[in-house]
Subunit: 137 residues, 2 copies
């Protein structure tokens, strides 16, 4: 099994206690966590450092960042696969969770002449099964 330390090292960022603890908190969580959630779980962490650690994890691909329905950023551990580009994502507008759809991504539409495609993202938004159920409780 690959430790958090190895994950960080492999991702090319310095290994610090803060990054280890934040990543492990994200990985242990069942839901994407907001900055406030993480502050509650890691009471000793500095507010600003926490923001910067989260940024680092997102940039190096270890975490994903999304916006929930209240406009708050939520973060989730993304298990280090940066293959997140070429398949469709479903983002729940309620809980902010992102689901990867395994179905083959649809072929990109034709582009005007001269345009060069670097990257494509099919983003679906809506309500996930959990939140849909919770809605008409």
């Amino acid at each position: 099994m690959s430790s958090t330390i190895d994950l960080l090292r492999t991702s090319g960022v310095k290994v610090t206690p803060g990054r280890v603890r934040v990543y492990e908190a994200l990985a242990a969580a069942a839901q994407p966590l907001s900055h406030a959630d993480l502050e509650a779980r890691l009471p000793d962490a500095d507010r600003v450092t926490l923001y910067r650690v989260l940024d680092t994890l997102v940039v190096c691909g270890l975490a994903m960042k999304a916006v929930d329905a209240r406009g708050v950023f939520r973060f989730s551990a993304s298990g280090a696969q940066s293959e997140h580009r070429r398949h469709a994502h479903f983002r729940c507008t309620d809980c902010g969770r992102v689901f990867c759809l395994k179905d083959a991504p649809p072929p990109p539409p034709k582009l005007p002449r001269g345009f060069r495609l670097a990257d494509a993202e099919y983003d679906l938004r809506g309500t996930c099964a959990n939140c849909a159920r919770a809605h008409h409780k």
Copy 2:
């Protein structure tokens, strides 16, 4: 033709100059507007009143509220905006311009059971014709 005043009256809320102006600004906009956008368009409006007017319009069904990628609420007059949803966008990573692709977007993939699709966006990124040509100068 139904004037804004009639729309408001029909929706069961008091008709005030602020509500009329805000609704008409929303209806005239090509994109959903943030609170800040509206403040720029209506320089005389009070900040807080603007928030409350927007809330009222949403509650009475004349406007829709959504969160953008930066976590900011954006508002649009109901009825508008359903057409800008279902087509693909190409964003040039060089000049930042966004092009709307007229071709019909591919059908959304199948979702897991219980998931409800509200909105889909096919985002392509790359280099537009202009910038591609400029590149091998």
